[in-house]
């Protein structure tokens, strides 16, 4: 367990009362609307705000405990923090910014070494050409990469990223997201990723904590939470669908398709490059799932998954979200009320879920 937290905080009308623990490795997303308290949690862990009561531990070290009277100063917490607005020191060069935390980590009594060497980090983030520049002249994406490098070089126990993509334009988001994915696989550092963008979380995170108005709504592996239709409906909005996680099980090169095996079936998707067994995460949008009562022929659709209707969720505008069980995996099909009546859809009915390969959205 990397971050173990149980805190209460009240500031005016806002009350935060959360308790959770995150896995020792990988990316844990703190997800919620603005005002849900996710950024506040980041600042509490970093020691920038003091909770009213409770405890905060990272890798077994107590950073705060009202019971034991412990409240470490921010500079002694060894939390790498990547702020939304980068916060590079404007009077220092990129190189001096990167070395700011590095130098201070060398001076620490425990002499903790940085996870990676300076040159390796510069390479990894592709910022070699920027070293002599000043932050004022960097683009948003460049600044954020430098900020990530600066935090990592300070040899932290855990990295907190507070909406690191929020200030970037759409094109840069993908770029930084790729860097974070690379960091995640190359460094064994646990990362807390604060975000309100479900697609970032689905692409990046291994587990997630869903916050709502200062308390935990749900917590667990991303593949589990984002395949629970009623939670997805609440947090991702209509039509997001569900997430399925599987492994690359076969290639159909002549047709440009790959086959993914997931608990409950196999699905063909547009070609994915990679070795067999590669972990793949797909989003199946609810409006792209068609229901059929029996096997069908003469359609272009590549996938017909046998499934069983579990539940009908009636939405507005005559739309119905049909929750399907496909083995242990959940799918959602958004259909009209008229279709429900015509096919006499009800819980327990066996159907086929038709999914176009090109409608699947590969997240990971």
């Amino acid at each position: 367990m990397s971050l173990d937290l149980d805190i209460k905080l009240r500031r005016g009308a806002f009350a935060l009362s959360v308790q959770f623990a995150t896995p020792a490795t990988g990316v844990t997303a703190l997800f919620g609307e603005s005002g849900a308290g996710k950024s506040t949690i980041g600042q509490l862990v970093a020691g920038l705000i003091r909770p009213d009561s409770g405890h905060i531990r990272v890798n077994g070290n107590t950073l705060f405990s009202s019971g034991e009277g412990i409240n470490l100063r921010p500079e002694r917490r060894r939390i790498g923090f990547v702020f939304q607005d980068a916060r590079l020191f404007p009077h220092l060069s990129v190189k001096d910014n990167l070395q700011y935390g590095l130098k201070r980590s060398h001076a620490r009594p425990d002499g903790a070494a940085s996870l990676v060497d300076f040159d390796v980090m510069v390479d990894l983030l592709g910022i070699g050409a920027l070293l002599q520049r000043r932050p004022g002249g960097l683009s948003g994406g460049e600044s954020q990469r430098v900020a990530i490098g600066r935090a990592l070089l300070s040899a932290p126990d855990i990295l907190i990223m507070d909406e690191p993509l929020a200030a970037l334009d759409f094109a840069r988001r993908g770029e930084i997201l790729d860097f974070i994915v690379r960091l995640k696989s190359q460094l064994g550092l646990p990362i807390i990723y604060i975000s309100h963008a479900i697609d970032e979380v689905a692409r990046l995170a291994d587990s997630m904590i869903v916050l709502d108005q200062g308390s935990v709504l749900a917590a667990g592996p991303v593949s589990e939470i984002l395949s629970t239709p009623d939670i997805v409906g609440r947090i991702a909005g209509d039509g997001w669908g569900t997430l399925i996680e599987g492994r690359l099980a076969g290639q159909d090169l002549s047709n440009g398709l790959s086959e993914i095996a997931f608990p409950g079936g196999r699905i063909k998707v547009p070609q994915i490059h990679g070795g067999l067994g590669l972990k793949v995460r797909l989003r199946i949008p609810a409006r792209d799932v068609i229901l059929a009562l029996g096997p069908v022929t003469g359609l272009s659709v590549q996938n017909a998954l046998p499934a069983r209707v579990e539940e009908l969720l009636h939405g507005v505008n005559g739309q119905v979200d049909v929750v399907l069980g496909c083995g242990p995996t959940r799918l959602v099909a958004r259909v009209t009320h008229a279709a429900v009546n015509r096919l006499d859809l009800r819980a327990g009915l066996d159907v086929f879920a038709l999914i176009k390969s090109v409608a699947t959205d590969r997240l990971m």
Partner: protein, 238 residues
């Protein structure tokens, strides 16, 4: 009318003394101004309002009153004056050190204001970032806060220096006008105007005052702009 531009020995002495007094007052005033600015903008203590008023008092009082108050406090019979004389054998009234003290008190509000403005323009997020990178409070102040407020420090220092050169009321009240001891440029001008044929001397020194004042303002502007460009991290135009 032809004016002799050659400075007399007494005038040169007044100029040298002005520079010494102004430099000393600024050198002592800057750290005090920084401490006052820090206390006023970040401190949360009961006497904050009192300190604020005290620092800014010379700005709203007639300088002569400030000089008189200094005389009451630091004069031979004043509480601080007596203590200083008994403990260190130092007396301030009617000495160069006294002129420095009077100038210092007059420019402290100026310096404090400039430093405080600079301090409050710094994004507090940068200090949080420095803390998360392992820098303690003093380290943060030296490596982040101080460099970022350097434009304010520089302009405060230069403006303070220029203001010192023109300080009259408080200095003449507390330190009098003793040639070579406390007679700075404005006091020398005043003295020249009192003499029957002092017009030329007054004009020379007045011209010099204008020159020094203007150069000070320009210098403050240039250095301030340079430092601002530096702390904002903008790169030099290629």
């Amino acid at each position: 009318m032809i004016i002799d531009l050659t400075l007399t020995a007494g005038e040169v002495e007044a100029i040298g003394l002005s520079v010494i007094v102004a430099s000393s007052a600024c050198a002592i005033g800057l750290p005090i101004g920084v401490i006052c600015a820090l206390a006023l903008s970040r401190g949360r203590f009961a006497g904050r309002v009192v300190l604020d008023g005290l620092v800014h008092l010379p700005l709203v009082l007639p300088p002569v009153v400030t000089g008189f108050l200094l005389l009451m406090l630091f004069g031979r019979t004043g509480p601080f004056g007596r203590w200083l004389e008994q403990t260190f054998g130092v007396h301030l009234a009617f000495t160069t050190s006294g002129a420095v003290l009077a100038s210092l008190v007059m420019i402290l509000p100026l310096i404090t204001r400039q430093v405080r403005l600079a301090l409050e323009s710094i994004d507090p997020g940068l200090e949080s970032a420095a803390a998360s990178l392992g820098a303690g409070p003093f380290d943060r102040f030296c490596s982040v806060t101080l460099p970022l407020m350097s434009p304010g420090l520089a302009s405060g220092l230069i403006l303070g220096f220029v203001a010192c050169l023109g300080e009259f009321g408080a200095v003449i009240t507390f330190a009098a006008s003793i040639p070579g001891e406390t007679r700075t440029i404005p006091l020398a001008i005043y003295g020249a105007l009192q003499a029957p044929d002092g017009d030329a001397a007054a004009l020379r020194l007045a011209g010099l005052s204008i020159l020094m004042g203007l150069s000070g303002l320009i210098l403050a502007e240039v250095i301030g702009a340079r430092l601002r460009r530096w702390v904002q991290g903008r790169e030099r135009q290629a």
